[in-house]
Amino acid sequence: MKIDIRHIAKLSKLSIPEDQIERFEEEMQAILSMVEHLPEIEGSAVVVDTTNTMELRADEVIPSASREDMLMNAPQVAAGCIVMPKVVE
């Protein structure tokens, strides 16, 4: 498989500077040729691990985090809300 760094970077929401495209392409190509080494395996659906199923907690009302705590790491806050660039004109 040949990797198209520009396309993959776009899908990944990353911008790779032009002068680094070649280096990333080489590194990613080496990694891909390693992971391409997979056999054809018969089987269709990937079954759930029945020996290790999940157990949900009871649906109870418990105290949740405060607005202040949740906003303390936000890059920009105004009037108790997170500020972000305009999405709809």
Binding site: M1, I3, I5, I8, A9, L11, S12, K13, L14, S15, I16, F24, E27, M28, A30, I31, L32, S33, M34, V35, E36, H37, L38, P39, E40, I41, G43, V46, V47, D49, T51, N52, M54, E55, L56, R57, A58, A65, D69, M70, M72, N73, A74, P75, Q76, I82, M84, P85, K86, V87
Partner: protein
């Protein structure tokens, strides 16, 4: 008692219980030790000394009043910087979270607090736990105490180093593909990756959620078991955790069957590593264990399956870093699309970018059947092979890593080669099994530590610790670096 910091956790506990020393004295000794040595080994991203001393005072006061104390009462330890400790930074050694302050505790932290342990700091790691050398950290880059020009291994690099350099008796790490066991092996300490579902992942920044597991690192088996016992068990905030109680361990391997899979001793494994691991197996044989040759044929494809699944999950998990709600925000804020791009391109290091792109690639239209689906099928086959192998043996022994610690920068520009070094450890994360790295001597060419890995059946950590304890007794304990 001028070297309190160098004692085992077990000895600290005994002295504290006999009231021969206080937790404040031990904690002060540990802080002085870290202050004196950390400029050379760089194990920490941040210290928690002030709170640690306050907490030590509180534990001493509780003890003086005769109150019931937790299992780790008054003993200092460190936690990896991807585990939330409320009020302290959780950076994942990334620019993306450089200023992120944890708004709540991880369940592991709650359990450590409930055990009255004293958290002295947050240890450095590979950025977002992506790496096996420790070199991808964008904050402190930890150094191997046995030779500071060499890598400590990763991704739990700081936790391994702080234990190996006798700054603390034990520390918490996390392991997605070997991130506890590899740095343990490179630095000559013990590291246990428990069975998936044994230790809660709540409040731990995820890499690959279906592989991630936290676990203890220590300089001896008893300390490791003490820490493991304190953090394991069902947590309603992590739906995959089980009602698990750790029921202790023995010290005899008489009658135990140890499987040795030939696939883990191939050409890629350095001869010095093979020699030391075979010596360890011989030691256990002399103690009464039966050695059985086994085969795990899917191992040769494990590396491919691991990186496909791991990076697919990582790419999804790291989608949350968009610069909007928390963490680093890029400089261009004029429109949201550019904000995503600048945030992620400036906030993530190259290793993180490579893994996000690999994950995105294998999940992208037209490729997911060829890559992701095949990798998941291989995961089932590999797990089934382990189940079959465990019908004829109690534990399996392999090298922990194929090589010993290399010099910083020696493998720069060759990520695929670094990925290949993970081959002995990743299979356990794929199959959800527990495994532990135990030191077994040194590579005579560079005097760096070698480790062997003990793999157990699911939820049979007790078997692993029994084998490790027997080995520890047989060899008269593990070498500690005078540092």
């Amino acid at each position: 008692m001028d070297k309190l910091y160098s004692l085992s956790a077990k000895s600290m506990k005994e002295l504290l219980e006999k009231r021969e020393v206080s937790s404040v004295e031990i904690t002060k000794s540990v802080i002085e030790r870290i202050e004196k040595t950390d400029k050379d080994v760089c194990a920490y991203n941040s210290y928690n000394f002030e709170n640690a001393l306050k907490n030590a005072e509180a534990v001493d006061a509780k003890r003086a009043k005769g109150e019931t104390l937790g299992a780790l009462a008054g003993i200092p330890l460190a936690v990896k910087d991807n585990i939330h400790v409320k009020g302290l930074k959780t950076t994942c050694s990334s620019k993306m979270l450089e200023n992120f302050v944890a708004p709540f505790n991880a369940t592991v932290t709650d359990k450590l607090n409930a055990s009255d342990a004293i958290i002295v700091g947050k240890t450095t790691m590979d950025e977002f736990a992506m790496g096996s050398s420790g070199e991808s950290s964008k904050l402190a880059v930890a150094k191997n105490p046995w030779d500071t020009s060499r890598i400590p291994g990763g991704s739990s690099s700081g936790s391994a180093v702080t234990v190996a350099a006798s700054q603390v008796p034990f520390a918490m790490g996390t392991d997605t593909g070997g991130s506890i066991r590899m740095p343990a092996a490179y630095t000559g300490v013990l590291g246990l990756k428990p069975t998936y579902g044994t230790v809660s992942r709540y409040g731990i920044i995820p890499l690959a959620s279906s592989f991630d597991q936290a676990g203890p690192m220590a300089r001896n088996v008893d300390d490791l078991a003490m820490l493991f016992g304190a953090v394991c068990g069902r947590d309603t905030k992590d739906a995959v955790t089980k009602n698990y109680t750790f029921d202790g361990y023995g010290d005899s391997v008489k009658g135990m069957k140890i499987g040795v899979p030939k696939e883990y001793y191939g050409e890629g494994v350095q001869p010095a590593v093979k020699e030391r691991v075979f010596e360890a197996i011989e030691t256990l044989k002399a103690q009464g264990a039966e050695i059985i040759d086994i085969s795990l044929p899917s191992t040769e494809y494990a590396l491919a399956a691991y990186y496909i699944i791991c990076c697919a999950e990582a790419a999804s998990n790291l989608g949350r870093y968009d610069g909007l709600r928390y963490g680093f925000r890029g400089s261009n804020t004029s429109n949201v699309e550019d904000l995503y791009l600048t945030t992620r391109s400036e906030g993530f290091g190259d290793e993180v970018k490579r893994r996000i792109m690999l994950g995105t690639c294998v999940l992208s239209s037209g490729y997911s059947d060829a890559y992701y689906k095949r990798a998941k099928l291989l995961q089932q086959n590999l797990a089934a092979e382990f189940t079959e192998a465990f019908k004829s043996c109690d534990v399996i022994i392999t090298p922990s890593i194929a090589l010993t610690a290399w010099k910083f920068g020696e493998k720069a520009g060759n990520p695929a080669e670094v990925y290949a070094a993970d081959i002995c450890t990743i299979t356990l994360n794929i199959a959800g099994l527990p495994g532990m790295s135990v030191p077994c001597g040194f590579d005579s060419s560079n005097n760096m530590p070698v480790g062997f890995q003990i793999i157990g059946k699911k939820f049979r950590e007790s078997d692993i610790l029994t084998v490790a304890k027997c080995y520890e007794n047989a060899v008269g304990g593990f070498a500690v670096k005078e540092f």
